[in-house]
Structures are given as structure tokens and as C-alpha cells.
Symmetry: C2
Subunit: 251 residues, 2 copies
DNA sequence: GAGTGGTCTAGACCACATG
DNA sequence: ATGTGGTCTAGACCACTCC
């Protein structure tokens, strides 16, 4: 089992919901009942509940109780793990995924690349271009810019599987990611790989990823075939208002 | 000021980061220092910090401290409020937004619509179709299915502005949203409104929204012109392992 | 009034990082 | 050894809902 107590409680309630033990729109046990059930303090129960709320499983209502807002039809496979890798995602959807490494080089960030990636000029990085296929059909083209110091011994062979799996095996834990999703016209690469009769647009996900030390170790650009482009999101309105702060934007 | 103490602390630290008082990659004051500074207990400070981490401002590192991972260039307008409306979003980006109501009707959910929307058959709903423009250019077509009991007196005029603003004025608070984002071929409506020479694909966001009572009150489908389709996401790997099941984000 | 969730406190012990 | 964040407790008070 997971180490922390609140994690066990989370898992227990989560599986209860997904298994239909608690049904959509019904009320969960109250916090005090859960305390009794798990033999722990209220804070611990609340910690579990707040994560469940964050992931769209439940919604607490003051003075009333905690309502289940998850249902199997709509939320099929539960809350998405926002940072799951391509391989994980493909596996979840029942596809056989393969990876082809198109290029693999080690370079130093120059001024121009610095702008695009967010790495400081002079930083040594790996630039890796890969095509990922599901059941033999190319579905995404991924260019990763990877901090060289994070995986000094990286070889092309290492990235034939899951890059993240390799990194985690090296003790690198991906902790935070910031992504931007857009729709763009296909470029030459896209047309060549996805096919000329293929899509008239591609989904592009650009992301900055941080490790457990708060160091940005990857900038990646994923160009994805539309039919295989799906993103699930759960959002909660937090208690943080944001109207007052002045806003700047570039778009 | 906001009511809760942790909110004030959040805002204070947030603005400190956005104002450059704390710089990218530097360490924040330690939790105990923050306790002293704000004259409160550690839990309260931690509550604020955990929300900051969730929104990609900060990353705590055990045994070391809390590192700032936000920078103005990349994260321009701060953490997205994940549930902000079109009007808010457009305003944030400096566009003049307008809304044109194409159709407005009140119907009862049938079996087929129930599948698509998630409302139970027999439920009375409003179906509202609107085109939203930024600086006069149509950028999105939005079809909302709205629980009639949630806003019994709704008129076409009410939805000429922000639907959410109206709902909030009626005491309805949008609390949780579950969205799916895909890229699809334009349909006839899209081609007519966005123009034939326009995009070869549109971004589609389908969402289920819940109010503060945990009642699903809206199903919406937003079809968006690619050039105006941008989504920002911040994800954090929570402590919830997911061998069997998944985990969180948030924004 | 009784029960619910929302906020907060003061203190404890642990795991981890750094000297 | 000291300081840091991670987890947890026991208890308090508040705001809200429902009877």
C-alpha cells in the first residue's frame, strides 16, 4: 500500500466510487464518520477528500455533506493523471505503441533556442526527435529538448521506449508540467509523416517540465494527429479570486 | 481583502512572485519564516503554499526549501483560473468580445440527447447557441445545454453577455468542470461562420459543469477557430500513485 | 439545536538535505 | 546536529443547512 495514510483513504474512497459502491449524486459518509471508519483525525480525512474533489470525484457542500459527482459513463477511466506519458496513455486506450527515433543530437543552447525553450544560452541539451505510432499508424511527432546534465549517459537506444520511464529509472522525477495546447497548420514534417491526404491541422502541445528539485529539465513540442488528439481536464474553482491583479499578455 | 487568511497569504506571495520580488529558481522564505511573517500557524502557511504549487508558482523540495518555478516570459498571465469564462479570457487578452445569440429554446431531454449531454431523460433544459467574436471576428460557436431549473427565468437577452456572469448573479456558482478537448473537421456551421477559406479543423471543447451543490447544470460544446484556440495547463504530480488508478491538477 | 463542512492552532514525529 | 518540508493529531471556533 501507499505510504501515507491519506493516500490509502483516497484510494479506498476512489475505488469505492469507481466500483459503484457510492453512486453518482449520492452523499458520501460525513467527515466524522470517515474519521471513525479509518480511525484517524479529521485533517487526514480532509486531505484525502480535497484531492478527490480536485480530481472531480466528489464535491463538498457546506452544511450538507460530500456529494459524488463521478460517473462511469462520462468519466470513463477516472481522473486523468495529468503527467502520464504517451506509453501510459496509449496503453490505457488499448493501443500497441511504438517509438521511432528520427534524430538524436547533443547541442548547446544558443540565443534563439533559448527564447523558444526557456533554457539559458550555453546550456548543454539533448535534442531528440521521435515519431510515435499506435497500432502502426504514426500519431505524433515529438521533439524533446532535454537538459544534458539530467541524463548525462543518454543514448538513442534509451529513448526508444518511454523517455519518462528512463528518466525515472535514473532517479529523475517529473513533478510539475506547464503545457500550452494549440491547433496549427501542418508543416512539411507533419505532411510527410501523417500523409498528404491526412489531417488539415495538427494539435500541438508545448510543455515545460520540472523535476523534483524545481529544475526545468525538458521542453517538448508534440505535434499530434487530430484523430488521436484528446485531452481530458478536470478543473475546480479554487478559493483564490484573481480579478484584482493586473494582467499582462502577449497574445 | 479575501476572507480566509490562507488566501491573503497566497495572494501576497503570488504577487511577490509576479512582481519579481522572488525570482525564478530562487528559494522562497521557509515555512517557519513565513509563519513568523504572517503570524499564523504552519498549517495555514502550508495551505497557501500547496495552492501555489498547484498553480505552478512554486515547488517544495523536502529538506531544502520552496523553489520559485514561475517566470514572467513563459507564464505570462499567471496561473489560469481554470474556470474563467470566455469574456474573462478575452478581456485578459485585450480583445473586445461580443456575443450573438443564434438560437434559444427550451426543450425536454430525450433518450438520445441524454447520452450526449449526461442529463436524465425528461429533464427540462435550455439549449442556447451562440457565436462569440473577438474584435468582430467570429472565433467560437458555443452550444450550451442548461438545466432549466437552475435559471427558470432565463431569456435570450440574458445570454447576450456572459452566461456565467448571469448565473452567478442568480446565485449559481460554477464549482467543478470536466472538459474534453479534441480536434475535429469543421461541420457546415463552422464553415459558414468561420468562412470557407478558413480553418481546416476546429478545436472542440466539450464540458460538464457542476454547481456548488454538486448538480450538473450545464453541458456545453464549444467549437473554436484554431487561431484563437489556446489552452494553458499546469499539472502537478501529486502523491497519489496510480498503478491501478490515477491522479490529479489540476489547472 | 444538532450535524455538516471551512478555517485555524499548537504541537508532535518523520524523512530528507546540509553542514 | 540543525533546519527543511511531509504527515498527523486533538481540539477549537465559525458558517451553513435542516429539522
Amino acid at each position: 500500500m501507499a505510504r501515507a495514510l491519506f493516500q490509502n483513504i483516497y484510494r479506498d474512497i476512489q475505488s469505492g466510487i469507481e466500483r459503484g459502491l457510492y453512486s453518482y449524486q449520492s452523499m458520501l459518509l460525513s467527515e466524522s464518520e470517515l474519521c471513525a471508519r479509518y480511525g484517524c483525525s479529521r485533517s487526514t480525512v480532509r486531505r484525502a477528500l480535497s484531492e478527490l474533489a480536485l480530481n472531480g470525484y466528489v464535491q463538498p457542500i457546506q452544511g450538507k455533506g460530500v456529494r459524488i459527482i463521478w460517473r462511469p459513463q462520462t468519466d470513463d477511466r477516472g481522473a486523468p493523471d495529468n503527467l502520464e506519458s504517451f506509453a501510459e496513455r496509449a496503453r490505457h486506450q488499448g493501443f500497441e505503441s511504438t517509438v521511432y527515433v528520427r534524430s538524436f543530437e547533443r547541442i548547446t543552447v544558443d540565443e534563439r533556442l533559448s527564447q523558444a525553450t526557456g533554457f539559458s544560452p550555453g546550456t548543454p541539451i539533448f535534442v531528440i526527435n521521435r515519431v510515435k505510432s499506435a497500432d502502426g499508424i504514426p500519431v505524433s511527432i515529438e521533439t524533446s529538448h532535454l537538459l544534458a546534465t539530467e541524463a548525462p549517459a543518454l543514448t538513442p537506444r534509451d529513448v526508444e521506449g518511454s523517455l519518462y520511464a528512463y528518466l525515472e529509472s535514473q532517479g529523475v522525477a517529473i513533478t510539475t508540467g506547464k503545457r500550452t495546447i494549440t491547433i496549427e497548420a501542418p508543416n512539411d514534417d507533419d505532411q510527410m509523416i501523417f500523409g498528404i491526404d491526412g489531417p488539415q491541422a495538427v494539435g500541438v502541445i508545448r510543455g515545460h517540465f520540472f523535476d523534483s528539485q524545481g529544475i526545468m529539465f525538458e521542453y517538448s513540442e508534440i505535434r499530434q494527429k487530430p484523430d488521436f488528439f484528446t485531452i481530458h481536464e478536470t478543473c475546480t474553482r479554487t478559493m483564490m479570486p484573481h480579478g484584482t491583479a493586473p494582467v499582462s499578455s502577449r497574445h
